[in-house]
């Protein structure tokens, strides 16, 4: 196997300059009173590709685990006194100058920009990385990370795709034990069922708040914009859950009490962006042209299951929660139920239409679009398919298509 050293920046290359500095106790977030303040600061935190929240956590000498999308049992990471941080590429704020060498041309942007983060020294505060096996690209990325960041453990998490076998649960629990061993290697404290039980309880409270915010967006979408919703939820994948929980509670109080007039907009379910994230400008555009996004797949980590089932063994409870999850997105192999899943999603969201927003070259998402479209055609539910890349700069074509789509529903 060829060495990757030639793609590393030459010695003397200046280190990336952080733009946001956060204290070890995250007090900056506790000072954010309004949603506007949370979103403005949140956008800065998301845009700073040196991961200020990871740097803040690492100041106390504790480890940070970088999690590639879509789902990682973060309760487990938390219980071992490590901070799980979702790494979802570099968005529009990074130029790919090194990652093109080991990764080919026709691959998704998120794989390249994530590797670019590693190759340009932006992931220094991370002590280990986990890559759930969601596609071949993620599998290869785990191997590449292991070689370009020696000394930091990397782990490929094999999540089951067969949810009906008697072997599924024991398999997943064995995988989680393997993951625990890696977390120990990355500086986590010893696994304890009591600590995991406590972490599960905290995450349950957190999930309930995220679900409440999502319910508000579903029932009264005019109370907060989709961008506000998205930034608030995405922050939860960067912050300690305890800090984010407080933030969400304040945001919920404000959003529920807002006096805003409902717009003449159509309700849409946004499908397909479960891994690579569209730019905020593109998300803004959806509501600018007259859509209310009432259901989405953008930050599924928090919404994989609504609650963890009861039981004596917390590791088994966590595994059961994953296996029994009703989530049916591109990275779960349930081809026979895809059609039913999209129709159920539309019904649940009372959506008038579906917008497929898929990353270029994202095979799991693109495969599902075919199955989804067939099902939507049977019920004459309108849909529109747009592809995006992290580095998109002009949205005129997308705007035109979205406007036409909305107008075709608004004007009879």
């Amino acid at each position: 196997m060829a060495s990757l050293l030639p793609v590393l920046p030459p010695p003397g290359t200046p280190e990336p300059v952080p733009e946001v500095e956060i204290s070890a106790d995250f007090r900056e977030f506790r000072a954010l009173g309004t949603i506007a303040e949370m979103v403005a600061f949140g956008r800065k935190v998301i845009d700073d590709l040196t991961f200020p929240t990871a740097r803040a956590w690492a100041k106390s000498g504790r480890g940070v685990i970088g999690c590639f999308p879509v789902y990682t049992p973060q309760e487990l990471v938390h219980s071992m006194d490590l901070l799980p941080v979702l790494i979802q590429g570099g968005g529009e704020n990074i130029d790919i100058t090194h990652a093109d060498a080991p990764l080919g041309s026709f691959l998704c942007s998120v794989s390249k920009s994530t590797l670019e983060l590693a190759l340009t020294g932006r992931l220094q505060s991370f002590s280990g990385f986990v890559f759930p096996y969601i596609c071949d690209v993620s599998r290869n990325l785990e191997g590449i990370f292991g070689r370009v960041l020696p000394g930091r453990p990397t782990h490929m998490l094999h999540l089951p795709q067969n949810f009906h076998s008697a072997a599924t649960l024991p398999f997943l629990m064995a995988e989680y034990r393997r993951f625990i061993a890696m977390l120990r290697e990355a500086g986590g404290r010893a696994y304890s069922p009591e600590a995991l039980t406590a972490s599960i309880e905290l995450f349950e409270r957190h999930r309930a708040r995220v679900a409440e915010l999502a319910r508000l967006k579903l029932e009264e979408p005019w109370r907060l914009t989709f961008t506000e919703f998205y930034v608030l939820v995405r922050l939860g994948n960067l912050l300690p859950r305890e800090v984010h929980l407080e933030l969400l509670e304040r945001a919920l109080v404000e959003a529920s009490g807002r006096d805003r007039r409902p717009k003449d907009a159509i309700r849409i379910a946004l499908v397909g962006s479960f891994c690579e994230q569209p730019t905020l400008d593109l998300l803004d555009l959806l509501e600018q042209v007259g859509c209310y996004v009432v259901d989405d797949e953008l930050q599924m980590q928090h919404r994989w299951y609504s609650s963890v089932p009861a039981g004596a063994d917390p590791l088994e409870r966590l595994a059961r929660a994953y296996v029994s999850s009703p989530v049916d997105i591109g990275v779960r192999a349930t081809p026979t139920t895809k059609g039913e899943a999209i129709l159920a999603k539309v019904d649940r969201a009372r959506a008038q239409a579906v917008v497929f927003l898929t990353a270029k070259f994202c095979e799991p998402a693109l495969e599902d679009v075919v199955l989804y479209r067939r099902a939507l055609d049977t019920r004459k539910i309108p849909y529109l398919h747009l592809e995006f890349e992290e580095k998109s700069t002009s949205y005129e074509q997308s705007r035109l298509q979205l406007e036409t789509f909305v107008e075709s529903i608004l004007f009879d």
């Binding site: 074509q397 035109l400 298509q401 036409t404 107008e407 075709s408």
Partner: protein, 268 residues
């Protein structure tokens, strides 16, 4: 009740005045020349003067085209896909499929009997599928645009362009010139190549007669013939169909105005 539709395009700005959503009172067209605001002013002045109207007699203005957000006096803006479909059905009520080869991009649009868009597909990237390509060919071959169509109709052995990229297609045309291919054969080859690319958009939408061509290429008999030969269908076209998007926006403006009058809007 007079409503105005403005199609502020990259190449030209078109305007129409519509009376009671039924009668076309005036049309006007001026080149945009990179200054949409000046073009809009010129179009409006021309139509107002032609119809001897007072400024207040135009009760609603709806814009479309790439510059639809630029005209600040508008009441409403709609996408040119929505507007073209409405306009095409207004001009040819049997229309169920609209082909719009605009300067910057081409679109195939499926529509209901009311002109509501059902599906659409546009070429997103390459100028080889859009009107700008014809403009460039006109320049390279030194044949004025208005002469390209009639000349193409005399072609004996059309010379197709195989490249899907506008830049490579131009190189191919230059090679054809060097090889001495008759100009009319090259012209018809250009239109047939454009028609084939348009047909792939049409297939995605699902071709349903009647097909109506809208936009600037309605004036080009070579393109109409190429489209008919490629699809095997009659293609509705008329000089007024150049204004289809402006007509569609005037119609949607009329619909909206009626709704507003029936139930006045409350608050902001």
């Amino acid at each position: 009740m007079i409503t105005c539709g403005l199609d502020i395009g990259a190449g030209s700005t078109k305007g129409v005045l519509l009376e009671d959503g039924r009668t076309l009172r005036a049309t006007a067209l001026v080149p945009t020349r990179g200054n949409p605001n000046a073009a809009v002013r010129a179009v409006l002045e021309r139509m107002v003067e032609e119809e001897n109207l007072l400024p207040g007699e135009i009760e609603y203005v709806c814009t479309t085209g790439f510059g639809r957000y630029g005209y600040l006096e508008r009441d409403l803006q709609v996408s040119d896909i929505t507007a073209s479909a409405r306009g095409a059905v207004f001009l040819f009520p049997g229309t169920r499929h609209i082909v719009d080869v605009g300067t910057q991009s081409s679109r195939a649009i499926g529509a209901t009997e009311t002109g509501r868009v059902t599906r659409f597909k546009m070429n997103e990237k390459c100028a080889a599928g859009a009107g700008r390509f014809i403009e460039r060919c006109s320049k390279y071959l030194q044949v004025p645009i208005e002469e390209m169509g009639p000349k193409a109709l005399t072609a004996a052995q059309p010379k197709m362009i195989s490249s899907v990229c506008a830049v490579l297609a131009e190189t191919e045309i230059i090679n054809n010139v060097a090889e001495g291919v008759p100009i009319q054969d090259m012209l018809m080859g250009i239109f047939l190549s454009l028609a084939q690319r348009t047909q792939s958009l049409m297939r995605y939408v699902g071709v349903q007669p009647e097909v109506t061509l809208v936009g600037g290429l309605v004036h080009n008999p070579g393109m109409v013939r190429a489209l008919e030969n490629t699809t095997g269908l009659n293609v509705n076209h008329s000089p007024t169909a150049h204004h289809a998007a402006a007509i569609g926006s005037a119609l949607l403006g009329y619909q909206r105005l009626q709704k507003l009058r029936a139930a006045p809007a409350v608050g902001g």
